[in-house]
């Protein structure tokens, strides 16, 4: 939907195209010129000022005309924009919000997370200014870590150099592998492609690089390695048809942004932080879920039937994209409730899972055996294993 935007674009264009200001200015300049002419006339004695006054009069009429003209454009814009907006952010979320005006602690907590976001993004100067202004001491240790990250990223972005990133990744190779990251390989791959592209006629350097670095990744990335090496062989032997070569290499080439993002994420994971800035991810979730809130508010207003009944739970489901789903959710098939720390999932002998509360109910307070709600297996509550879902 862009109808409002299109209308607004038109209005801005009209406003910008309105050259009334220029006309007002030039008429005013003309008045000055006429006044100077008048001065000459007066100096030359026999004066008839009628001619000049009528010119000034014309200028003034012109100025007035353009004032009206401009006024109209401004008014049109105002009228259109006032009709345009159909939701107020503060109206669509009737719950308690983060209140930094009255709650000093919340303000400080928010400012701390803003500082964390700024540090992630290399805004050290601003962060240290905030440190004083908002009275929040940032430990030197923390800054050092982010400065190191920033150095690697700058080297990548400004100089297009991978060496610092590769050094860091090799140093942390085992930790990276543990988290399942293929950053190290991706960096080597990019470096290989870089060397290869630099000197296609003499791929020796690239070959050496491959020989030195790729063997460690045979287990995990053999497929890509062979493709990379193949394209090298291919291009040195045939000069005419290089389509395959190009396709392979291009297919592998990660955008700078994506390797940059991966590096940031892995670095933050390794220093024990979430890979993306929590503020960023939460705001992203907010933008994605906001239409649901707007829709719900509208329905509520129109029907009067719906209500924000439960105080500590939203009244509707929000489908966030997979990259914004962070927890395994088990809805107990019996009670239809989400399992929690207090009401954990219990695995029955048939390996079906229900919540602890439901287990207690089905077993009549752990007194009798019961049938699994999903299969014919009968069991007792002490046969069930308390379990937890572990996200790796």
């Amino acid at each position: 939907m862009s109808e409002h935007f299109d209308i607004l674009t038109q209005e801005v264009e009209k406003l910008a195209a309105n050259k009334s200001m220029d006309s007002i200015l030039s008429s005013s300049n003309d008045i000055l010129r006429q006044l100077k002419n008048l001065q000459k006339e007066i100096e030359n004695s026999p004066t008839s000022i009628d001619d000049i006054t009528s010119k000034i009069k014309k200028d003034n009429e012109n100025i007035l005309k353009h004032q009206k003209h401009l006024n109209k454009s401004v008014k049109n814009y105002s009228v259109k924009i006032d009709k345009m907006f159909d939701f107020n952010l503060s109206d669509v979320y009737p719950y308690e919000t983060i209140d930094i005006k009255n709650n000093l602690k919340s303000r400080k907590l928010l400012e701390r997370s803003i500082i964390m976001d700024l540090l992630r993004n290399g805004q050290f100067e601003i962060a240290s200014k905030l440190e004083i202004e908002r009275n929040l001491k940032i430990p030197f240790e923390l800054i050092t870590k982010f400065k190191k990250l920033n150095e690697i990223l700058l080297n990548l972005r400004e100089n297009n150099e991978l060496n610092l990133a590769i050094d860091w990744a090799s140093l942390n190779s085992s930790k990276l592998k543990k988290t399942g990251s293929d950053l190290e390989f991706n960096l080597h791959k990019l470096q290989f492609i870089k060397l290869y592209n630099k000197n296609k006629d003499d791929p020796f350097e690239a070959y050496n690089y491959a020989k030195e670095n790729f063997p460690n990744f045979g287990l995990t990335h053999l497929d890509i390695i062979s493709k990379l090496l193949f394209s090298m062989i291919y291009s040195t032997t045939t000069e005419t048809n290089t389509t395959i070569d190009k396709n392979y290499i291009n297919e592998m080439l990660l955008s700078n942004d994506s390797i940059y993002t991966q590096l940031c994420q892995d670095y933050c994971s390794l220093i024990g932080l979430s890979s993306n800035s929590p503020i960023y991810n939460t705001l992203l979730a907010s933008y994605i879920s906001l239409p649901n809130f707007i829709k719900y508010t509208k329905i509520f207003k129109n029907s009067g039937k719906l209500n924000w009944t439960s105080l500590n739970e939203l009244p509707f489901e929000i489908n966030l994209p997979i990259f914004l789903q962070f927890h395994s959710i088990l809805i107990c098939p019996v009670s239809k409730e989400e399992t929690t720390f207090e009401n954990p999932p219990m695995v029955l002998p048939c390996y079906h899972i229900i919540s602890k509360d439901s287990l207690i109910k089905l077993s009549k307070n752990n007194l009798s055996s019961f049938k699994c709600p999903y299969c014919p297996v009968t069991s007792t509550s002490n046969q069930a294993i308390q379990s937890r879902f572990i996200d790796m």
Partner: protein, 517 residues
């Protein structure tokens, strides 16, 4: 599929101030320009008439024309300033439109991707777009929250403005307009400067009336301002001027002909209440003040020297009702009320958008499996001085221990956990578990592939510790081939499986598939 980018109109709605503020400035500027033009036209016409009338001799005429020319030159200078400001704000609008145009294109491109055809760059662009939005929200926050830091001077050096400039997004926020409001706010709240507020009210009289009608306010900023002035004058003992203010301004608000307010009654109540202060101020009696201080030894010695405090103190003690009239809190309220009016006038968001959006996002993300970091009762008294970065240091040092547990959830993060603790949970109705869940005998349920991958990445000798009784793990020799084959429970080559969380070792046969439904 979930839409991860909303349409342009949606974002336009969120950014309304970007398009409202400039036009309000343009309007105001234009009105001032019209006044300027009118004044100049009248002046020139008057002088021309005089020149024509023949009542002046030549040198007088020359004198007059020279004067007129110089006036016209000054006028032109002023005019140019107005024109420049006009063009500046128009160009902001154009720039902002162009930014949204980019968003519109991105939206169309994403739509095409859905219908097949790849757009590699789109993801990066999407990231860039949201990154830009977050940056803008942070700038907006830093700027507007600067008034809560009493030790910050409100000027062009504000951190928010610096950040906007360094991120090159200063054209997307009318920080100069916002700053103007914050400056007046600070003058009122910190310096108790009423003159600046009186001037501002006068300058915007017409618009303020419209705002009052639009929001159905039962307070009138002009009345509140003069009333505050009245109280302040009484506090310093200037009864004469206090009465002047009352006569010239406040009484006017009781007159239905002058002010068609529906809150005349309330205004009346206030004035009557305020009038009582006149009497206490007259009781400015040193002997009594000393007696009072003696009777309460701990009372501030200050009151010896500062009769205002004494007056203030006496009244607040004896007449609780007047406490609010005399308290400094009233200045904060007045400043807040001013800012509300100022923001309405310029279409600036009243709320901090980042707080609202974070609240909405947080409750969308918050599940009942999210951590509760909130500390034990004794340390959880809401003292803002408890907030520091120590948690981040602790986390970093023992992160290796449970580094395998991936938790990227923003609500579980130190950054937002406590901040969002009182917000509602999301509404979950579907089980959402990873594929292939397997359970170890200790009840821990993992995704099978990840469990295997973790075990494969372990150094092989760990399996020959005393736990396994010197048992070595046998791998299939042809690992390369293996990597292309799907791993199943049946062909799993590991004989022992280690629990990534606590290092417990289990036999392969102990792993069982579970069935969450």
């Amino acid at each position: 599929m979930t839409t991860i980018l909303n349409n342009v109109d949606f974002h336009l709605n969120l950014k309304k101030s970007q398009f409202k503020t400039p036009i309000e400035v343009i309007k105001k500027n234009f009105k001032n320009l019209q006044k300027l033009i009118d004044k100049q036209e009248i002046l020139i016409n008057k002088n021309l008439k005089l020149l024509k009338s023949g009542s002046l001799n030549k040198s007088e005429k020359l004198e007059l024309i020279k004067k007129t020319i110089s006036l016209q030159e000054t006028y032109l200078k002023k005019l140019k300033v107005r024109v420049k400001s006009h063009n500046d704000f128009i160009s902001r609008l154009q720039y902002r439109i162009s930014k949204l145009e980019e968003l519109k294109k991105l939206n169309e491109s994403l739509k095409n991707d859905e219908n097949g055809g790849g757009g590699e760059g789109d993801n990066d662009n999407l990231n860039q777009f949201y990154k830009g939005e977050v940056e803008l929200l942070i700038v907006d926050y830093l700027l507007k929250s600067s008034i809560y830091n009493t030790n910050t001077s409100i000027d062009d050096e504000l951190t928010g403005i610096q950040l906007a400039k360094s991120l090159k997004i200063d054209k997307l926020i009318d920080y100069d307009v916002i700053l103007q409001g914050l400056k007046i706010y600070n003058e009122i709240k910190e310096k108790k400067n009423l003159k600046i507020l009186i001037d501002w009210c006068f300058e915007n009289k017409k618009n303020l009336k419209l705002i009052k009608e639009k929001y159905n306010l039962n307070l009138n900023i002009e009345f509140e301002t003069y009333f505050q002035k009245f109280i302040e004058l009484i506090k310093i003992g200037d009864v004469f001027n206090a009465l002047n203010i009352a006569n010239n301004y406040l009484i006017g608000y009781l007159n239905e002909d002058e002010h068609d307010d529906d809150n005349i009654g309330e205004n009346f109540e206030k004035i009557v209440q305020g009038a009582a202060l006149l009497c206490w101020n007259l009781a400015e009696n040193t002997d009594k003040a000393i007696a009072d201080t003696k009777s309460q030894v701990s009372r501030k010695a200050l009151s010896y020297y500062d009769s205002n405090i004494q007056t203030d103190y006496n009244i607040s003690e004896n007449f609780k009702n007047y406490k609010s009239l005399l308290s400094d809190d009233k200045w904060t309220k007045l400043a807040d009320f001013f800012l509300f009016n100022f923001n309405s006038l310029y279409g600036i968001d009243q709320d901090l958008q980042i707080c609202l959006l974070l609240s909405i996002g947080s409750s969308s993300l918050k599940t009942r499996s999210c951590k509760h970091r909130k500390k034990d009762a004794e340390s959880s008294n809401d003292n803002e001085n408890d907030v520091n970065f120590d948690d981040y240091l602790n986390l970093t040092s023992d992160s290796n221990k449970d580094g395998i547990l991936k938790n990227d959830c923003p609500i579980c993060s130190i950054d937002l956990n406590e901040l969002t603790s009182s917000l509602p949970f999301s509404h979950q109705i579907k089980t959402n578990i990873f594929e292939n869940p397997v359970m170890l005998p200790n009840g821990n349920i993992y995704q099978f592939e990840k469990l295997v991958q973790f075990n494969k990445s372990q150094p092989k000798d760990i399996f020959s510790t005393k736990n396994t009784g010197g048992l070595t793990v046998e791998y299939d020799n042809e690992e390369e081939e293996e990597s292309n084959k799907e791993i199943t429970m049946e062909n799993l080559e590991l004989l022992k499986i280690k629990d990534p969380l606590n290092g417990e070792l289990f036999d392969k046969s102990d792993i069982v598939k579970v069935f969450p439904t």
